[in-house]
Every structure is written in structure tokens, then in C-alpha cells.
């Protein structure tokens, strides 16, 4: 059961991984004849930054620089580079600034780590919140003046008032 739940969760998370790519600035004369290569070029373009623009990928931007980079990416792909090789080539040339998704690396530990840390902290915090309550309510229940029947009645009344 639990395994199934996890499987479903993972599937759902993957759903979120479909990158939102609503825009494109590719010109007709840039498009590669090979549809599969063109697909790869588009996917790559959406994670490469147009360095002159504010927060735009080269796939979104009309700027000349973005156009040059789009053509460059297509040239490298046509010459047989893998996706990673293209990205490495660009990082070599322009620095990590060119990547819209920073690399998983020690220097970016804070970026990738803080969300995880925040989640763990929030979990811990809420666990303490509930954990305390549970102990107390357990104690309370044992010395409870009300009978079980009265308790259920009370909960019912409380719920109905909502």
C-alpha cells in the first residue's frame, strides 16, 4: 500500500518536471531539417540564458545574442555533440551564468540545500507541535472526566458548529 502511494507520488512529481515552455523566438530560417535534432535544440535552448536579457532563455528572446546562441547550439548539435557537451562548451565560453538551472555542485550547495533544509525544519517544527499535543492529550485522556461516549458526542457537537 505504502509502496503504491510512493509510486504515485513520484509519478506526480515527474508531472511537475515537464518544463513549462510556453514561448519561443526561433526564426523559420534557423530551424534544422532534422526534427529530432531540432527538438533537442529547442529543449536545450529553453535552459540557456540570453545573457543580455533579464531572465529570458535564448528560446524566448528576440535579441541578436540569443539568435547567435541558438545558431551556435544547432551547429554543435549538427556536429554530433551530446546535450551535455553543448552545455559544457557554453559554460566554458560564458561561465555558469549561461545556465538557467545552476549545476548540482558544492558551490551551489546552498541553493539546492536550503529548500530541503527548509522542508526538514518545517517537518520537525510541526512534528514537535503535534508530538507535544499528543503526549498531553494522551495524559488528558487517561484522566479524562468524560466517558468515551460523552467525548464522541462532544466532538460531534463541535464539528456541527463548524
Amino acid at each position: 500500500m505504502l509502496k503504491r502511494v510512493f509510486q504515485i507520488l513520484i509519478l506526480f512529481s515527474m508531472l511537475a518536471l515537464i518544463s513549462v515552455r510556453p514561448t519561443f523566438a526561433v526564426n523559420p530560417n534557423e530551424i534544422l531539417p532534422d526534427a529530432q535534432l531540432e527538438r533537442r535544440a529547442r529543449d536545450l535552448s529553453s535552459i540557456i540564458r540570453c545573457m543580455k536579457c533579464q531572465n529570458q532563455s535564448i528560446d524566448d528572446s528576440d535579441a541578436d545574442l540569443a539568435k547567435d546562441l541558438r545558431i551556435l547550439v544547432r551547429e554543435r548539435l549538427t556536429e554530433g555533440d551530446s546535450d551535455q557537451q553543448v552545455l559544457d562548451y557554453l559554460v566554458d565560453r560564458y561561465g555558469e551564468f549561461v545556465l538557467l538551472k545552476p549545476q548540482f555542485s558544492i558551490s551551489n550547495l546552498a541553493l539546492w540545500g536550503i529548500p530541503v533544509l527548509a522542508f526538514l525544519l518545517a517537518l520537525l517544527f510541526s512534528w514537535r507541535l503535534i508530538g507535544n499535543k499528543q503526549d498531553k492529550s494522551a495524559k488528558l485522556a487517561s484522566s479524562d472526566i468524560l466517558t468515551d461516549h460523552e467525548n464522541t458526542e462532544l466532538t460531534k457537537i463541535l464539528n456541527e458548529r463548524e
Binding site: 507520488l9 509519478l11 506526480f12 512529481s13 515527474m14 508531472l15 511537475a16 518536471l17 515537464i18 518544463s19 513549462v20 510556453p22 514561448t23 519561443f24 523566438a25 526561433v26 526564426n27 523559420p28 530560417n29 530551424i31 529553453s46 535552459i47 540564458r49 533579464q54 531572465n55 532563455s57 524566448d60 528576440d62 561561465g95 555558469e96 551564468f97 549561461v98 545556465l99 538557467l100 538551472k101 545552476p102 551551489n108 546552498a110 541553493l111 536550503i114 529548500p115 527548509a118 522542508f119 518545517a122 517537518l123 517544527f125 510541526s126 507541535l129 503535534i130 507535544n132 499535543k133 499528543q134 498531553k136 492529550s137 488528558l140 466532538t155 463541535l158 464539528n159 463548524e162
Partner: protein, 661 residues
């Protein structure tokens, strides 16, 4: 002369705010009713003077008084009247003036509606509100005065950024600020409560309407901004994870968490410490957003370092308010007694779960937004954090949250049984599964993930009403009884349902447009055609037109689909002379909930054009969803139980008790 009066009015407002920020708080401490009562009149007074000042600046824009530097920089005599007025806040100084106008407006509202509040709490709230007014009035007067004169006065202005010359500027910033700044009230309530040390369920009951009001406006403001960017920028995107967008989205995430935790505090007196903390953080994030957008730090850390006056000032405001309130919190929090008890599986537990994920999501977006700035400030290296980062971190955080939306409201307070709650969701789960299977069966390309997403959306949409359906007893009683029961349900329950339903609708739009969008681009000579989805587009030629302050090339495109009437779309490119700036005006046709989106690219000398076309299935649902959320919030807000002052109710109860005794 009028401009000088406007400037002077700001100074007077500052003096009144100084009174408002000091005497009522002393009064509350000393128990002096007269000093406390000063809070209200000064709140009205400072709002009045700030409004006068705002009117003075608007007047200068309306008559195109270019002797004011601000008007000269951002207006043009040939600009249409609507944009002359909206141009008032289409620039740094004017937008800060709008910010503070709304801030003092909320102060006046608290003074107006707060008659049922205990006088010491009201005095403290208005006092804290005044401190924020003081800080930002000083900011305007010392660093961003919109009333600076130019001599000699120029004959013509520089015009407003063409992208801003749109109806969107009339609605988006005021809405957004009403939301952003509205959370100042919850902040003031939190700080006031910590000053007096009295924090109870009644406090939460007073705060919730304000949090809800701010949340409604912020939701509407963000949604409006998203639609504006969608049609104005001509890229067809509806959310870019741009730092400026994130700056408004982070307060929304924390504010949504606040809304939910305040509910627990009001009903069960639990989560007190956490609710107070969220109230502080929400407004802190709004302040941080103001800093990010207004200091210029986003454009480049270097341009910020070169002209740091404004940025440093806001940074100081940020430090004083966030640092001060957190220090107060650290002193007071240990003395707060934890309230109602609850078990992990309960309504409270579900709301804590909601808070865990919303808070983590906010922290994630915040990290991604600030990381490049911090790295550049420390090491000088430039780094980008863009949409791919946010998609893979934010998305997975939302999935568990959405899955639990239908379940949460079905759990009872204190301790709940999972099984009966799930039982009431069988029909929802069944229909969601059916929707997923239908998608899987009738679509091509990437149906698996899309069908799961659509199933989840249906689960949220229908599940939102599961509580109402089971309360009315539709499966147990006859329809007449069930409908009669429907009317008896409290409005907040309908509000919750519509809010959650809207979330599902939004998700449906997002999944549909992400998975099934079609795009196409072609270079067309007049008479040539291209295809997008089921539509054929025929380019019929370019028409040059002259507008009031721009020249325009309008393309005529015939849209033809077999079996339906053809229609014409006119995407265009504009050129604004004063700023020498081109803009792209997309042409959009709504067909059901979907849209056909055309955007004009390069125009060649031979009269050929590059035409980009998108088929965006169900995209309208994204904004429709937020409309449902706003509707849900408004229904909740109209609930009598939220409006009636608790002070009165308890007085009545007291009387009843004494009568009984």
C-alpha cells in the same frame, strides 16, 4: 503651486503619523482613553493629506506640467488621458506614493471598522501602522520626492515606457499593492498583540478578515499581472518565474499559509506562535519584495552599488521592521501558552500539513530569487536561477498539497478518523480516475503525465465540494431536504469550497496548456498560409497606421477552419517615437476556454513577415481559477460570523451569564 501643496501635504501627513505612532501607544500603556483615541483621528488625517498629495501629483500629470521632473520623465502631452493618469504610478516615485496612499488607507480602514476592538489593541495596531507610514514617508521625502521642479520647464515629456501604456497598468499595481500592503494590517495586529502580550482566539478572529482581504487583492493582482504579461509581452507565456513576479508570489504563499493557520487559531486556539510568526513573515516578504523591485538590485547588483541611496534606505526599513518584530517575537513567544490539543490526523493536522508545504515552497522561491544576488555580492560571480530550477523544486512541493485539498475540510477537529473521510471521497476519486482514463484514451503525444495531472485537477475541483455534498446529505436525503440544508450551510464553507475549486481549475488550465499546446512559426509573403492545430492562417498584407504617440504596422491574418466561419486577427508591431521603442501587440482570439495567439515577428523589406502562432488549449482556466479563488475569499469575507465583532458577542454572553446568576 499645487505641486508644492502636494509636497507640503506629505510633510503634514508625516507629522500626524508621528503623533499616531507615539501617543496612542503611551495611552494604551497608561490606560488613558483620550490618548488612545488620538490614533483614529490621526489615522484619518494622515490618510487625507496623503490622498491630497496624490491628487496633486495626478493633477500635474493630467495637465502635463513638465516643470515637474517626474512628469517630464514619464509623460507626454500626446498620451491618451487614461495613460496620463495611470502613468502617475508607472514610475518609481509615483508608485511609492501609491504604496503609501494604500498603506494609510488601510490605517484609516482599521480606525473606521475597528470600533469593536478593545481600545488598547486598536491604539497599538494604529500605532504600529503609523511607524510603517513614517518610514515610507521619510523614504519618499528624503530619496524619492515626486514633486521636484525643473527650471526651465521643458516643452515636451519623455513619455511612459510603451509596455506600460495599457489598461493593465490601471488595474494591476493598485490591486497588487492593496494585497501587498494589506498584509501590513496583520503585521500591525501581530506586533500590537505582542506589545500587549494578549494573544487569543478573539485576536485571530479580528485578524482573519484583514488577512483575507489582503489575500483576495493579492491573488487578483498577481493573476491580473500574469494575464497582462501574457498578452502584452507577445511571448505567449503566462508565468516566467521572474524575480519581480516572485517578489509578489512569496508573500502570497506565506499569506495563504497565514490564512489557514489563523483558522486553526480562531477555532481551536492552537498554532498561536506559528500564526503570529506567519503574520510577521508575510509582511516582511512584502517589504522584501518592495526592496527587490524598487532598489534596482534586480537589474544588477552593480548598478545598485553605484547608486545605493534608495536601496540602502529601504534595506534599513527592512532591517528595522523585520529585525524589530522578530526580536519582539523572540521575547514574547516563550510566554505564549499553547492552546488546543490535537492529534496528527485531524483538521488541525491537515492545516499544519498545508503550512509545512506552503512555507517550504515560499522558502524555495525565496532562495532561488535571492541566490544570484547573494552570490554576486559575495564572490562577484554571476549565476542564473531560472524557470528550470523553480519548476523542479516548486512543482513537487505542490503535488502533495493539491492531493490533500479535498481531504482536509472533511476531517473533524482535534482527532479524526481517516476512513470515514475517505469514504465521502469515493465518488470524487472515481470521477477523477475516469477523467484521467478519458484523457489517456483520447489524446496523443504525452498523455500519461497529462492524464495524471488532469485527474488531480478534477480531484481538487470536485473534492472541493465534497464537504458541502456530505453536509447537505445528497446521498442520504431526498433532493429537497438536501437543497434546504445547502442554504443553511455557513458561507465560510462555500468560500473554502470555491477557493479550493479555483485551485483545481487553475491546475487544469496549467496541465492542459503545458501538455497540449501547439506552436508554429513561418515566414509568409502576402497570400501565403501556415497551419496551427486545426486552423489555417492566411497572411493578407500589412497596413501602416499612425496612433496618437506611436506608428504601427498591422498585419491582417485570415483564420480559416473547416466547417466554421473564418475570422480576421490583427497582430501588429508598434513603434513609440518618444522612447524609440518597438513593442509587439499580440492578437488573441478566445475559442471556448482556449485561445489562438498570434504574434508578429520580423518584417522584411519585401513585405514578408515572420508570424508566430500558438494554440493554447484551456489556458483561460488559469485565470478563471484565480477568479474562483477571489470569489471564494469574498464569500468567506461576507460571512456574518467574520464580520460580527467578538467583543459585542462576549458582552452579550456576559449579560446572559449575569442574568442567569
Amino acid at each position: 503651486m499645487i505641486a508644492e501643496l502636494g509636497h507640503y501635504a506629505l510633510v503634514l501627513a508625516l507629522l500626524l503619523a508621528l503623533v499616531q505612532g507615539s501617543f496612542p501607544i503611551f495611552g494604551a500603556k497608561a490606560g488613558d482613553e483620550k490618548l488612545m483615541a488620538l490614533g483614529q483621528s490621526t489615522a484619518f488625517g494622515s490618510f487625507l493629506f496623503i490622498a491630497l498629495s496624490f491628487a496633486a501629483l495626478t493633477h500635474a500629470y493630467v495637465i502635463s506640467d513638465f516643470s515637474l521632473q517626474n512628469v517630464w520623465e514619464n509623460s507626454h502631452s500626446a498620451k491618451p488621458m487614461l495613460y496620463k493618469i495611470t502613468g502617475v504610478w508607472g514610475n518609481h516615485e509615483g508608485s511609492m506614493l501609491l504604496w503609501i496612499l494604500i498603506l494609510s488607507f488601510f490605517g484609516a480602514l482599521v480606525a473606521w471598522f475597528g470600533t469593536t476592538l478593545p481600545s488598547d489593541l486598536r491604539a497599538n495596531v494604529l500605532g504600529v501602522q503609523a511607524w510603517i507610514v513614517i518610514a515610507f514617508l521619510l523614504f519618499i521625502l528624503l530619496t524619492s520626492n515626486p514633486f521636484n521642479r525643473l527650471t526651465p520647464a521643458p516643452f515636451e515629456g519623455n513619455d511612459l515606457n510603451p509596455i506600460l501604456q495599457d489598461i493593465g497598468l490601471a488595474i494591476h499595481p493598485p490591486m497588487l499593492y492593496l494585497g501587498y500592503v494589506g498584509f501590513s494590517v496583520t503585521f500591525s495586529f501581530a506586533v500590537a498583540a505582542m506589545i500587549s502580550g494578549r494573544i487569543d482566539a478573539a485576536w485571530a478572529r479580528w485578524v482573519r478578515p484583514w488577512a483575507l482581504t489582503a489575500w483576495i487583492f493579492l491573488t487578483a493582482g498577481i493573476s491580473m499581472g500574469s494575464y497582462w504579461a501574457y498578452y502584452e509581452l507577445g511571448w505567449g507565456g503566462w508565468w516566467f518565474w521572474d524575480p519581480v513576479e516572485n517578489a509578489s508570489f512569496i508573500p502570497w504563499l506565506v499569506g495563504t499559509a497565514l490564512l489557514h493557520s489563523a483558522l486553526v487559531m480562531e477555532k481551536r486556539e492552537a498554532l498561536k506562535i506559528w500564526t503570529i510568526l506567519l503574520a510577521i513573515i508575510t509582511f516582511s516578504m512584502a517589504l522584501l519584495g518592495t526592496f527587490l523591485v524598487r532598489s534596482g538590485v534586480l537589474t544588477s547588483v552593480h548598478s545598485f552599488a553605484n547608486d545605493p541611496e534608495r536601496g540602502v534606505f529601504i534595506l534599513m526599513i527592512l532591517l528595522v521592521f523585520i529585525g524589530g518584530s522578530l526580536t519582539l517575537f523572540a521575547i514574547r513567544a516563550p510566554s505564549l501558552k499553547a492552546g488546543g490539543l490535537f492529534q496528527p490526523i485531524s483538521r488541525e493536522g491537515a492545516l499544519v500539513f498545508n503550512n509545512v508545504f506552503l512555507a517550504t515552497a515560499a522558502a524555495t522561491v525565496l532562495t532561488g530569487t535571492l541566490y544570484p544576488l547573494v552570490v554576486e555580492a559575495i564572490s562577484g560571480e554571476k549565476i542564473s536561477v531560472g524557470p528550470p530550477f523553480f519548476n523542479i523544486t516548486f512543482g513537487p512541493l505542490m503535488v502533495p498539497l493539491l492531493m490533500l485539498i479535498p481531504l482536509g475540510p472533511l476531517l473533524s477537529w482535534k482527532r479524526a478518523d481517516l476512513y470515514p473521510a475517505m469514504q465521502r471521497l469515493y465518488w470524487v476519486a472515481g470521477l477523477a480516475l475516469l477523467a484521467a482514463i478519458l484523457v489517456l484514451a483520447f489524446t496523443e503525444d504525452q498523455p500519461v503525465l497529462a492524464s495524471i495531472g488532469i485527474g488531480l485537477a478534477v480531484w481538487c475541483m470536485l473534492g472541493a465540494f465534497a464537504e458541502i455534498v456530505s453536509r447537505a446529505g445528497f446521498f442520504k436525503n431526498s433532493a429537497t431536504i438536501a437543497f434546504a440544508r445547502l442554504r443553511g450551510l455557513p458561507r465560510t464553507m462555500w468560500g473554502t469550497a470555491f477557493g479550493h475549486f479555483g485551485m483545481g481549475v487553475l491546475l487544469l488550465g496549467v496541465v492542459a496548456v503545458t501538455a497540449f499546446e501547439k506552436e508554429s512559426v513561418a515566414e509568409l509573403a502576402p497570400g501565403e498560409t501556415m497551419e496551427i492545430g486545426e486552423y489555417q492562417l492566411r497572411f493578407d498584407g500589412l497596413l501602416p497606421v499612425t496612433g496618437p504617440n506611436f506608428s504601427e504596422n498591422i498585419a491582417t491574418v485570415q483564420v480559416i477552419k473547416e466547417g466554421s466561419r473564418p475570422f480576421v486577427l490583427k497582430p501588429s508591431k508598434r513603434f513609440y517615437q518618444a522612447r524609440q521603442m518597438p513593442t509587439t501587440e499580440a492578437a488573441i482570439e478566445s475559442i471556448g476556454f482556449s485561445q489562438l495567439y498570434l504574434s508578429l515577428g520580423d518584417v522584411s523589406r519585401e513585405g514578408k513577415v515572420v508570424l508566430r502562432a500558438w494554440w493554447k488549449p484551456a489556458i483561460i482556466l488559469i485565470w478563471l481559477g484565480t477568479i474562483f479563488m477571489v470569489l471564494g475569499g469574498s464569500i468567506s469575507l461576507s460571512d456574518r460570523r467574520l464580520r460580527v465583532g467578538v467583543a459585542k458577542a462576549s458582552k452579550a454572553r456576559l449579560e446572559a451569564q449575569t442574568a442567569n446568576a
